[in-house]
């Protein structure tokens, strides 16, 4: 059957056009139930002995996705019109339902009602599209009812009362709301909680319909209609942008705007229900209004640098130098003082007047619920409103309705935002699941993984099916492969951090007959096992990178590959992808003699950095491995020197190293990690390999090659640092990386060895983040890697733990005509999609790694008790300073003064005129950036349940009594 579907559509230019589309109706659409004799067994997704079948409507799919995802909901029929509607309204809800339907474990069936001859309904004249769609859903219910008769009950699950009524009348079918259904299902109590919010909402609706409480007090201004927003943006009175929010305060944010300056938004009312990440429309308001409307006028506290990252890849030889400061903009403010009185430099203030797109996470927010204010306990089993406090302070507290408040107290839970109406002070949220007890290491780790959107689910059977059987060994087929060279005779060795099981790189050097040296880098041949477009490949591309936490590793590839088959362990034959150079004794690499080849190698030794360093330093050792290491170290130094001459930056980052007790998982020591010559040697070889490969793949695939770039940061980003350096008589030249490197070398203060490290650390933060990209995305001049001073760079050397490297391996193999690239790798947009995902995953992995270090720092200090330590000021805020503790490599906000062991009454420092220091009100003491201070570090319980590392400034006068402080504090801890 054949239907015409015509509708009017407005184009981008504003013309109204008539769109006519064909619509075919079919008679071969399966009902998906084994009770239907027509349905083939392969299509029968629903169960024959189900309790009943549920038909859901759009409302339910959009609002109660978690409810549907709950394992005790099954045998659900999702009409395709519902999916269509869901797709246009909330893409992520759509994907979640799609995932449910694709899951073989769940019995969700998508019924293509729109294309079924008997369930298609035509829109009547004057009928609203929503009514038509509701009618289509009811048609599905009647159709199934007719089909199944008495064999099975069909229930319509709908959020719309009218729809339910009509379903009962027209189809004679059972129809209920989510909450009614949850109440009906007495077998699972949790369902009721998932539906809790729903009950409330319907209750509200009832109220409105009866006109009882029409006059609710509005707390926030209503958002303006979309049409007036677009109008305002067009004529320049309004500005649109993504809202960035301070790390410590959800109602202090800014929106980057087209007027060149950021628009600051301060205060709850000006925020007008916008949340971090939302696309908002802002109106600029004069500043004097600000004080009236209750928002804080003047200078905002910059976001804290506390959780800031430094852009270093943890434990990575190849990217140690790649500066990739993640939140340049945020950091820039952390040095900023109060605004000067002249308003010309002052960023304009704004107010949110509309929200274009909400960035509410569908995966939810982790957090805890706060104990009742009156100090009484929650009554078990009684539904009530509680306050939910997200872990991430960029988001406001939320209100949650739950009947299990007594059980949730003291637990880390996940909640999703429901809505934020103008008469509600805080947004409403809904409980999703419990992660674990607050303070428990495992649960806290799960929280940080969840907050950073890292998938921890085990690999699926389909993925594991792609692995070769264990035990695996190099087979005759590999040896016979004409493209694979047998390099087992070479003296190859690997150097990695201690305890490293995923060894993806190995090195060798040997003297050639012509007096030159052959240098070789051998990288695990991961793509030999991870073939394109397999389940394994898709999963790896999705994960993007292995995530390293303090006590745990979340692998990108299954363990068999990561630790065994691909890992270049000592004294076993392994497949590798080798890059071989010829270099003269002076260290000149002869680029025309470079070869790339797949190979078989046998690592003579898998060393740690420490062991390698010992071998390099010990002159008595003359065995093959030690001699090659010595030669490699020499080449490493030469290469490094050349690179530095070209302008590569040597940057510092507080890379924290934690020693962990293997049994109890408790941290035993904490400090900054050490960089040895051996680390630098490996790093140089990897950099050489990466840049050589980048050139090769770009020459063959000029539009789709996957590369890595590091754009230079504009001067404005360095401005706060330069300002802070002024009083110390140090200036940096940020015009080029070479000049910056030179001036950084010159930034030393006599008698202060740590000053230079801190300057480097802070300079790193001013920089942009390095990123993966497809060659077509940028022009050639933009490929430049600022931190490494390289024209071309990519990632080739760690395919076991980075997906980008796997991609590059495929490109390299294809550029040698040994393998065929999958069609997707030729497609510029596909490559962009993959690299964009990799950039996000890479950043999340770094954040998670740091959050894990923070977690273990907390545990460490909890065990250790209070300590007093020297620290340096690295940032100034309005009511606090940010300090860095070199001994432990941690950074924190200090907002309290201690004198003589007692807490001083008040933080009495205020910002000085020039904004580069704070002065106490008595005028006696002052603090500037880079000043040395003494801080006391302790763990305290805040806000009911959460524990935090708290630092307090020890008054210089009372510093002598610090030891005494410690003793008393210890004693207190013990009691």
């Amino acid at each position: 059957m054949w239907q015409k579907n015509a509708y009017l559509k407005k184009t981008r230019q504003g013309n109204v056009v008539k769109v006519v589309r064909e619509h075919y109706l079919r008679d071969d659409i399966s009902s998906g139930t084994p009770l239907d004799p027509q349905c083939s067994p392969s299509d029968a997704k629903l169960s024959a002995d189900a309790r009943h079948y549920l038909v859901v409507d759009t409302n339910v799919v959009l609002k109660a996705t978690d409810f549907l995802e709950h394992s005790s909901i099954d045998d659900v029929i999702v009409p395709s019109i519902v999916l269509q509607e869901a797709k246009s309204r909330n893409l992520s809800a759509y994907h979640r339902i799609r995932a449910l339907a694709a899951d073989p474990q769940r019995r969700f069936y998508v019924f293509a009602n729109e294309n079924h001859r008997d369930t298609y309904v035509k829109q009547k004249d004057g009928e609203l599209i929503n009514d038509r769609n509701d009618r289509a859903i009811r048609a599905v219910v009647s159709w199934y009812k007719q089909l199944l008769g008495d064999k099975m009950q069909v229930i319509l699950l709908s959020g719309d009362r009218e729809n339910r009524r009509l379903a009962r009348e027209e189809c004679g079918a059972e129809a209920c709301s989510v909450q009614e259904y949850a109440r009906m299902r007495t077998d699972d109590k949790e369902l009721l909680d998932l539906a809790a919010h729903w009950g409330q909402q319907e209750f509200d609706e009832d109220d409105e319909s009866e006109g009882k409480s029409k006059k609710r007090r509005r707390i926030y201004e209503d958002h303006r209609p979309l049409s007036s927003l677009t109008q305002g943006i067009k004529n320049g009175t309004l500005h649109q942008g993504v809202l960035n929010v301070s790390r410590y305060c959800w109602h202090e944010g800014f929106v980057p705007s087209s007027i060149g300056q950021e628009i600051r938004i301060e205060g709850v009312s000006r925020m007008n229900r916008a949340m971090a990440g939302d696309v908002v429309v802002v109106e600029i308001v004069p500043d004097n209004v600000a004080s009236r409307s209750g928002s804080r006028p003047g200078a905002a506290d910059g976001p804290d640098a506390d959780e800031e990252d430094d852009g270093y890849d943890v434990g990575d030889e190849t990217t140690g130098l790649e500066a990739s400061a993640v939140h340049g903009v945020d950091d820039a403010i952390c040095l900023q003082g109060p605004q000067d009185d002249d308003s010309s430099t002052k960023p304009p203030s704004g107010q949110v007047v509309g929200i274009i797109k909400r960035a509410w996470r569908t995966r939810g927010y982790c957090g805890t619920i706060m104990p009742p204010r009156d100090g009484k306990d929650f009554v078990p089993g009684r539904a009530r409103w509680v306050r939910f406090r997200p872990k991430d302070r960029r988001f406001p507290h939320m209100m949650m309705r739950t009947a299990q408040a007594d059980q949730l107290l003291g637990k880390n839970i996940v909640a999703v935002v429901e809505e934020w109406q103008s008469h509600r002070r805080l947004p409403d949220c809904r409980y999703v699941r419990t992660i674990g007890t607050v303070g428990d290491t495992e649960a806290e780790t799960d929280v940080l993984l969840m907050e950073n959107d890292i998938a921890t689910s085990p690999f699926t059977p389909e993925v594991l099916a792609c692995l070769p059987p264990l035990p695996w060994d190099v087979g005759p087929a590999d040896v016979a492969d004409p493209h694979r060279r047998d390099l087992r005779h070479l003296c190859v060795c690997s150097v990695d951090p201690p305890g490293c099981k995923d060894i993806d790189d190995a090195l060798h050097v040997r003297l050639l007959p012509n007096g030159n040296y052959e240098l070789g880098v051998h990288i695990a041949d991961v793509t030999h096992f991870v073939k394109p477009e397999t389940a394994l490949d898709t999963e790896a591309a999705q994960r993007g990178t292995t995530v390293y936490l303090v006590q745990r590793r979340i692998d990108m590839l299954p363990k068999a590959l990561t630790e065994d088959i691909c890992s270049l362990r000592g004294n076993v034959d392994r497949l590798a992808f080798s890059v071989l150079w010829e270099a003269t004794l002076e260290g000149d690499v002869l680029h025309d003699k470079t070869t790339f080849t797949k190979s078989i190698i046998r690592s003579r030794a898998a060393l740690t950095y420490e062991e390698a360093q010992t071998r390099i330093d010990d002159d008595r050792l003359t065995d093959d491995v030690s001699m090659s290491l010595k030669a490699l170290a020499r080449f490493g130094q030469i290469l490094r020197k050349r690179r530095m001459e070209k302008g590569a930056l040597e940057l510092a980052s507080p890379e924290v190293k934690l020693s962990i007790d293997t049994e109890s998982l408790n941290p035993t020591d904490i400090g900054l990690s050490q960089v040895r010559l051996a680390n630098k040697m490996v790093e140089e070889m990897m950099l050489l390999a990466n840049s050589t490969v980048a050139e090769k793949i770009l020459s063959r695939f000029p539009s789709s090659a996957c590369l890595r770039r590091h754009p230079a940061a504009p001067r404005s980003k360095y401005e706060p640092l330069l300002k802070a350096l002024e009083p110390h008589g140090v200036s940096l030249d940020v015009t080029s990386n070479k000049r910056l490197a030179e001036t950084l070398d010159g930034a030393v203060l006599p008698g202060d060895p740590f000053f230079n490290t801190i300057v480097r650390m802070m300079a790193t933060r001013c920089m942009n983040e390095a990123q993966y990209f497809g060659a077509a995305q940028y022009s050639r001049s933009e490929y430049y890697h600022f931190g490494l001073a390289m024209d071309l760079y990519t990632h080739f050397t760690s395919p076991i733990r980075r997906y980008a490297d796997c991609l590059v391996h495929r490109f390299l193999a294809a550029s040698m005509d040994q393998e065929v690239l999958p069609a997707s790798a030729h497609d510029v947009d596909t490559v962009k999609g993959v690299t964009d995902n990799l950039n996000v995953r890479h950043r999340n992995a770094q954040f998670a790694g740091r959050a894990s270090v923070t977690l273990f720092t907390l545990i460490y200090f909890k065990q250790k008790g209070t300590v007093t330590e020297a620290a340096r000021v690295v940032g100034l805020r309005k009511k606090s300073v940010i300090v860095f503790v070199p001994k432990y490599g941690i950074e924190g906000m200090v907002g309290r003064i201690l004198s003589g062991g007692e807490e001083a009454a008040k933080w009495d420092y205020v910002m000085n005129k020039s904004g580069n220091g704070v002065v106490s009100q008595s005028g006696k003491r002052s603090l500037k950036v880079f000043d040395s201070v003494t801080v006391r570090i302790e763990v305290k319980t805040t806000q009911g349940y959460e524990e935090e590392v708290i630092m307090s400034l020890v008054d210089e006068d009372a510093a002598q009594s610090a030891d005494a402080d410690m003793d008393t504090a210890d004693a207190m801890d013990e009691t």
Partner: protein, 241 residues
Amino acid sequence: MEYVTPEGLRTDGRRPRELRKLGCQLGTLESADGSATCEMGFTKVLAAVFGPRDTAGKLHPDRAVVRCQVATAPFSAGERRRRGKRGPLATEQAATIRETLAENIHLELLPRTQIDLYFHVLQADGGILSTCLNAGMLALADAGIPLKDLVGSCTVGYLESTPLLDLNYIEESGGGPLLPMAYQPNMDKILMLQMDKGKLPVETFEVLATLATEGCRAVTGQIRQSLMNHTKQLAVARGSV
């Protein structure tokens, strides 16, 4: 954009290997020597044949010359736009059609003549080239020009790793490769196969080519049917049946 749902249905409700509704009518223009309208879904093309005729100009001494022009109506797609018959696209399409259809004509039987083919795209919803070829085939038959075989044409494409048959406008704009094919079923000969846009691995290309031949066979089946019907009608009109 999702072009094929996990249930295996395309945006318009077809399965990946299904053709659109195909409609053929012969003799739709009285003034032409031969004419036909072909509809593939919502793509509708009117073809008119004038000739073979003797005209002044560069005529070949031992075979007929074929000329071709394609015009697209401004109202053919949703948005009204002037679409000329001298645009680069129209010129290219006209050349392809001329080459393809001329290959199917016994040109050597009609020396020193000219055959003019005129195409008017009345509605455009994807697969214009294929619809033109089908309409042209029918119009040539209607004009009584000696043909070697039937010709059927259809377009295949590749989107979301799925080979699709007979793409509509939305699917054509999906960015995947497009392969219009023209095929002579009895001689089992591919007259024309193009690949517009994109790249494909050879294996996929082969799958697509096979699918296209199957599609073309189905189209020629329809074309044969409509030719038979038309001939029957003519016979009835003449009273010979």
